[in-house]
Amino acid sequence: MTVAFCGLRLAHPIVNGSGTFDAIAARRAFGDGLVEQFPFAAFVSKTITLEPRVGNPPPRLYETPAGLINSIGLPNKGLRGYLDTDLPELARLPVPLITNVMGSTAEDLCTLVEALDDRDEVDALELNVSCPNVRTGLDIGADPVELAAVLREVRPRTGKPLIVKLTPNTADVGAAAQAAEDAGADAVSLINTLRAYAPHPERAGVPWLGNATGGLSGPAIRAVALAQVREVAARVAIPVVGMGGVQSGVHAARMLEVGATLVAVGTESFRDPAAGTRISRELDDLFAKSGDNIG
């Protein structure tokens, strides 16, 4: 069951959510078995920023009912480190590579996108727009006008497919998706994590996470994700990558039913590193049973 997505031909519709699978670290733990049994039809890198980031102070994790709040803070080696160190390793994966980037200004994003546009190893780009605008303090992706303004500058800098990763922490995700499409995005992906707070279990009024708030993921957010993916898919003509709490082939089928072209798996990979493989097989079985009429 191959899938066409932004000019790429993928072996199945299951990819990873950005920042939920480090293929380089996983290879250290699992060796060549990871490459031989790679669980995703395309690999989405963690977010790359212009300068290196060490990430947020720990604690960074908090388990919730059916979910996880994380406050990781986008640790990465920066653009230079990614190009020199990570990209050659990621290029050895047996699937197309989508590189996720974030910048707090259009200028930063343009620099990132131009540098990656030069590299043949990169098949597509994903913009993380859940980043506060340095002028307004609001997430760029939360304001459709701001999002469109940034995209109009970034879009001409690359001929590669450009995916916009929408934030769910906004009043009108449909309007943000529409703005992305109007400004030339080739696809949108959603949902990113929902802003969440974890209280310290023993100290009243004190946050547990080092950065106070984080993002909620896992099955706890699946119903919210389905609503937002459904709304966005109805609003735009470009393909949608749906994600949020997908744990099984049935969950992936539900994402496809509401209009997603690809389905990303995130938190479930923490529970089972090979979850992507299992979910794509379960999805195949569902297609086989239903006579190929899902989605």
Partner: protein, 273 residues
């Protein structure tokens, strides 16, 4: 590092049978048969989750698997037999502690980097606290199997926990309340041991305050130490970046792929979480 003590894990999680459950005071030891897994190195860990009813406990948890250092491993006719040491302290360990023969467990591992052998003519000294006893048992097995000395010093809260010391050979025990063995901290015993012969490498695992005391004591005496740290982890294989520890020279290191065993000299202090 090509020589790091790391056995690679098969990719993905396996579902294995619990073959034995036994209680040791406040602790539970679970044994599983792992026919498709390799022999782990001492100090490596596994991510564990009950195959059934993982969730729906206190606060509708657990959700994520839990990291456990391997207590013991034996290679036999039916494959590898693994043992884990648990204490029920939260929704994950409560559920795992209920398991017994006929229950099934999801396991991913072995993960991380284990203990490295003593070098420079130094002898091993093992120092553990609470469930931190676990990785020292498999390490002591290996050292004694090579005919090397491996004295063990273990600290527990009280006499209800002290039976955990039975997992090691000839351990000297300290309890916080004096109800068993030395009344005081296990680091009192460690100081005595190092006073007698400082040509040692200390291998330690236990709660953060104990590990920090071991680290500081070893630093003050210029004795190398390898610390098996603990942290909440979501994945265990470097995906989530949740289990980071700040390094003396700045930046963070992921305990799951670069640890859990660290050279104490790399840390300015053992973090409280």
């Amino acid at each position: 590092m090509t020589s790091e003590p790391r056995t690679l894990a098969p990719f993905g999680r396996r579902t294995v049978d619990v073959t034995e459950r036994r209680e040791l005071g406040a602790y539970v030891v679970l044994a599983v048969g792992d026919p498709d897994g390799p022999m782990p190195r001492a100090g490596q860990f596994y991510m564990l989750a009950a195959a059934e009813r993982w969730g729906g406990g206190s606060d509708e948890r657990p959700f994520l698997p839990r990291a456990f250092s391997v207590l013991r491993a034996r290679d036999g006719a039916g494959g590898v037999r693994l043992e884990f040491m648990l204490e029920a302290v939260g929704p994950g360990t409560e559920r795992l502690s209920e398991l017994g023969p006929k229950d099934r467990l999801h396991v991913t591992g072995p993960l991380g980097v284990g203990f490295a052998r003593p070098s420079g003519g130094r002898r091993a000294v093992l120092c553990g606290g609470g469930v931190g006893t676990a990785p020292l048992a498999i390490w002591q097995d290996e050292l004694l199997g090579r005919g090397e000395p491996a004295p063990a010093l273990l600290g527990f809260r009280d006499a209800a926990h002290a039976p955990g010391a039975e997992l090691l050979h000839n351990a000297r025990v300290a309890t916080d309340d004096g109800s068993h063995g030395h009344h005081g901290l296990v680091t009192d015993l460690l100081a005595e041991e190092l006073d007698a012969d400082p040509a040692a490498v200390v291998y330690a695992c236990g709660p953060p305050p104990m590990l920090e005391a071991v680290r500081a004591l070893c630093e003050a005496r210029d004795v190398p130490c390898q610390l098996a740290l603990e942290s909440g982890m979501a994945c265990g294989f470097g995906a989530c970046f949740g289990c980071v520890v700040p390094l003396r020279d700045g930046g963070y290191l992921r305990l799951c792929v670069d640890g859990p065993v660290l050279d104490g000299a790399r840390l300015a202090e053992v973090p409280a979480h």
